[in-house]
């Protein structure tokens, strides 16, 4: 294994000491047809950690993400969020979610970028309450972080795929979350937008200390920013620093199965 740069070693050590923001304990999941997708999987993510969730097609990455987000209930095992059992967890605003693409497929949906980003703060504002000045400031900050202040009053349906993805991330950031989960967020986004997107993630993680869980087929461009790679193939097949993952041919082979996954150059 190659030696890690000193700043990376410091970060890995601090991450190892940090309390977990997310814990998955002995989780198993099968869909209605009976096919087992996840089998007794255990995983922990610390505060401020940047984790890439990789694995071959059909390995259960998206299913695991949905379980972590509470969209699916595992048949066995438990999920903990910030030390609390997910079933009793109330502070959902602490978790931001960036889907693969904008879920709303209507190009004429009547909403401005600002209105959509404000939706990301709904849980933090609370039920029966209206946004206040501090919420408007947080929305402006999220727009600025995502680099889309100039799109504030544009209609959401008129934006390009890359711009819409930045709106997604601004929406997820509006509540100032401690954990951000991203489901293949760069799929279908052009190379220039991807590079800007990765730069944004780097800043969020390094400067704001937001823990990131990044589900992707291609972690090549991210490998210098990652703390941990978690490779899933029904169960956890690798969990450790990216350097170890890249240097271990067997893990690489698993992750590149179905030929859909790349790690960029293995230099």
């Amino acid at each position: 294994m190659r030696e890690m740069p000193e700043n990376r070693v410091n970060k890995v050590n601090s991450v190892a000491r940090a309390e977990p923001v997310l814990g998955v304990e002995n989780v198993s999941f099968a869909y209605e047809d009976g096919a087992m997708v996840l089998d007794n999987l255990t995983l922990q993510i610390a505060a401020g950690e940047f984790v890439a969730l990789v694995g071959p097609n059909g390995a259960g990455k998206s299913t695991l993400l949905k379980i972590m987000l509470g969209l699916l209930r595992p048949q066995q095992g438990r999920v903990f969020l910030f030390g609390q059992d997910q079933r009793r967890f109330k502070d959902w605003w602490r978790i931001g979610y960036v889907p693969q693409k904008l879920e709303q497929s209507n190009p004429h949906f009547p909403a401005t970028v600002e209105e959509i980003v404000m939706l990301g703060r709904a849980a933090k504002i609370g039920v029966f309450r209206w946004p206040r000045q501090e919420d408007r400031v947080a929305v402006s900050r999220a727009l600025e972080l995502a680099g889309i202040e100039n799109l504030r009053y544009r209609m959401i349906g008129l934006l390009s795929g890359g711009q819409q993805q930045r709106v997604n991330i601004a929406r997820a950031l509006a509540a100032e979350p401690d954990l951000l989960m991203l489901d293949e967020p760069t799929a279908g986004v052009d190379a220039e937008s991807q590079a800007r997107f990765y730069g944004l993630l780097h800043n969020l993680n390094k400067e704001l200390g937001v823990a990131l869980v990044f589900v992707s087929h291609d972690i090549g461009p991210l490998r210098h920013m990652l703390d941990t790679v978690a490779c899933i193939d029904r169960s956890l097949c690798y969990y450790g620093p990216p350097e170890g993952f890249i240097d271990a041919p067997s893990h690489f082979a698993v992750a590149t199965a179905n030929s859909a996954i790349g790690m960029g150059s293995r230099a």
């Binding site: 969209l71 605003w93 009547p110 909403a111 209105e115 504002i125």
Partner: protein, 279 residues
Amino acid sequence: MFDWLQLEFMQRGLAAGLLVAAICPVIGLFLVLRRLSLIGDGLGHIAFAGVAAGFYTHIYPLVTALGFTVMGALGIEWMRSRQKAYGDLALAIFFYSGIAGGVILSKLSGSFSGAQLFGYLFGQISTVSATDVWLILGLGIVVVAIVALLYKELFALTFDEATARVSGIRVGALNVLLAVMAAVTVSVGMRIVGLLMVAALMIVPVAAALQLGRGFKATLFWSVLFSMVSLVTGFATSYYLDLPPGGTIVMLAVGLFLLTSIFRTAVAALARSGARRSV
């Protein structure tokens, strides 16, 4: 010009009509954007069974219609949430049950005259009673208050249900609440434009406002404005030209939709020609 407003029954009709015109598109906007435009129609047909049940049991028909539509809305939502692939099937089953039940109960009641039936099917704004106005006002305030208090949650649900769920919004409960509010809106609206056209007041002004291509709040504002303009002008026109008020109100709303569609097309054409000139 305003002599039609000298008459007390017209004043009552206008007051009730304006309340209904304000409520209908508020709920309609959420239904249209969630591709549930036809739910209002389905609930209108269930309300028919409710009105007939009112005549059969000698209970105030607006109350029985409210009970039937709320139960129908809960049933539709229950089936829709369990059979995602056949959401329209749930609607169709309740739709036909409402019509069939209404026909049977009308016959059984024996006191449901043809004129009364016509009034409920196509509206009778000029025969609105003071009780109707108070009931519509009460229910309208409840609906508007709920939408105002849960505006961001309803907006989040409408835009993206999965992300709304992730952010801790109780999506299931909100879906049920929205269905119940649609039922209440249909029940209060049927006195004004009739069971068969109440859904039009929920949908057509929203369709017109969507042509303007504005944000969510602005679209809500324009929907309500278009609905109220249709109501006032339609009601006045029906008085002077001796036309059925319900049909006239809905046709004027359709006219506004056509005007905004033409406006949108013209603006898009101008923008395209401007872009070509600048190349």
